[in-house]
């Protein structure tokens, strides 16, 4: 997410649309990771996130005049484009396929298993921890988009309520409310997940 203003974004953009690769790379590398994380956390699909990031920057290159630095930072503008793309994606695929633990793309997002194992004491602890994280991620992906967005921005991207409200162009109270309801839904889903294996093993 856009956190710090980038000096000379206008000039960089002007040079980029004239074919200056270095100027474009400076813009791209400053914003791509946060946009990709937002897209992948919202869509649950690395492939969709990849496509969304590409579309965001292509839109910027094709219509650079739509960005007005007087109205906000370039990062916020790019986030707006990414958000529209993500919402369109969610409309097209309302029930996105959950992330598969063994998929190659998922490994790119979650880091290598060797890295994870290095931080765990035992393979059993690592497996349990990994499974729990997967369930949390799945539960986040099953939230309604508005609630999911609040969780992604405030909990995963660790933006303040004020920053999230500015990005989403809504009051802070709305962000707080969405987060509150999202937590309640997440707790319910995770509790349900925890209780199902217990019942299954009790038989």
């Amino acid at each position: 997410m856009p956190k710090t203003p980038h000096v000379g974004e206008d000039e960089l953009l002007r040079r980029a649309v004239r074919g200056d690769e270095d100027a474009f790379l400076e813009i791209y590398r400053a914003h791509q990771a946060s946009l990709y994380r937002y897209a992948v956390r919202m869509s649950g699909s690395p492939w969709a996130a990849e496509e969304i990031v590409q579309e965001v920057f292509l839109t910027l290159l094709r219509a650079p005049s739509k960005f007005d630095s007087a109205r906000g930072l370039l990062g916020a503008y790019l986030f707006g484009i990414a958000r529209n793309r993500v919402l369109k994606h969610l409309e097209r695929a309302p029930r996105e396929v959950p992330l598969e633990p063994d998929s190659e793309a998922n490994a790119e997002v979650h880091g290598s298993q060797a890295d994870k194992l290095a931080h765990m004491q035992t393979p059993a602890a690592w497996a349990e921890r990994s499974q729990l994280t997967e369930h949390v991620h799945e539960a986040v992906l099953r939230l309604p988009p508005d609630f999911r967005e609040a969780v992604v921005l405030c909990e995963l991207e660790e933006l303040s309520y004020k920053e999230a409200a500015r990005l989403l162009d809504c009051p802070i109270g709305t962000i707080r409310s969405r987060l509150h309801r999202a937590r309640a839904l997440l707790l319910a889903k995770l509790e349900m997940w925890r209780s199902v294996p217990r019942r299954a093993t009790a038989r």
């Binding site: 690769e21 979650h110 880091g111 729990l132 991620h137 909990e155 509150h180």
Partner: protein, 237 residues
């Protein structure tokens, strides 16, 4: 005293609000249900932080950057051909080109191909024939000798009437008969004209042609019969 409903509505953010923090903490001390709820919230925050850590290094793959760089390269302005030559030069250049072709046309008019009755004057004639397509032939030595005599007869008359004819000095070698040529009847009826051919066309006369020099231009003397058809040829020096 805060109620359970009020505590729930505050959520885990109550710690950030000094006004409600004291009341919430007092409620928690007396309400095990809300204490358990606070524990669940904290667990959930921990899970979400773990998920955030795991995905914090996620970034778009390199192939996205490569594709976009390609798109940026496509935005570079292409140099326009019109700018290579100043516009003000186009008018004079066109005028000079027209003048050149007009002069060339006027100068070449006297050398237009024509059938010359006099062999000596035909030696000086150099029609601007570029290529002379002739079907493949087989050279008959006897006919070649006869043709050479005929041509020399024609040339002997030539220098007497026109000593300055250039072909008389340059020509060498024997004439080779063309495959379709009719038997020679009289030297007086023959004339020799000089044409300019590409070496590639000599292959049609049965001569070996070096492919590397096939595009070169050479001068060839053609022996023209009374009927106006070429009967034999030879290379001019």
């Amino acid at each position: 005293m805060m109620t359970c409903q009020e505590f729930e509505s505050l959520g885990p953010d109550f710690e950030r609000r000094p006004v409600s923090r004291a009341a919430a903490e007092e409620h928690l001390r007396s309400c095990p249900r809300c204490s358990a709820l606070l524990g669940s919230w904290k667990d959930l925050d921990g899970e979400l932080r773990a998920l955030a850590r795991e995905t914090s290094s996620a970034a778009a793959p390199l192939r996205v950057e490569l594709a976009l760089r390609e798109a940026v390269r496509g935005l570079r302005p292409q140099p326009r051909a019109g700018r290579l030559v100043p516009v003000w030069l186009l008018g004079p250049a066109a005028t000079a080109a027209v003048a050149f072709f007009a002069a060339w046309y006027v100068l070449r008019a006297p050398h237009a191909p024509q059938k010359l009755a006099n062999p000596s004057s035909s030696l000086a004639a150099q029609p601007p024939v570029d290529r002379y397509a002739v079907t493949n032939n087989k050279v008959d030595p006897a006919a070649s000798e006869e043709l050479s005599q005929k041509a020399s007869g024609a040339q002997k008359q030539g220098p007497r009437r026109n000593p300055s004819a250039p072909a008389a000095k340059d020509s060498a070698g024997e004439f080779l008969a063309l495959p379709y040529a009719l038997p020679v009847t009289s030297a007086d009826d023959a004339s020799v004209i000089r044409v300019r051919l590409q070496r590639a066309a000599l292959g049609a006369f049965g001569l070996p042609v070096n492919e590397e020099r096939a595009a070169e231009w050479v001068m060839v003397d053609l022996l023209i019969g009374a009927d106006g058809q070429p009967e034999a040829f030879r290379l001019a020096r």
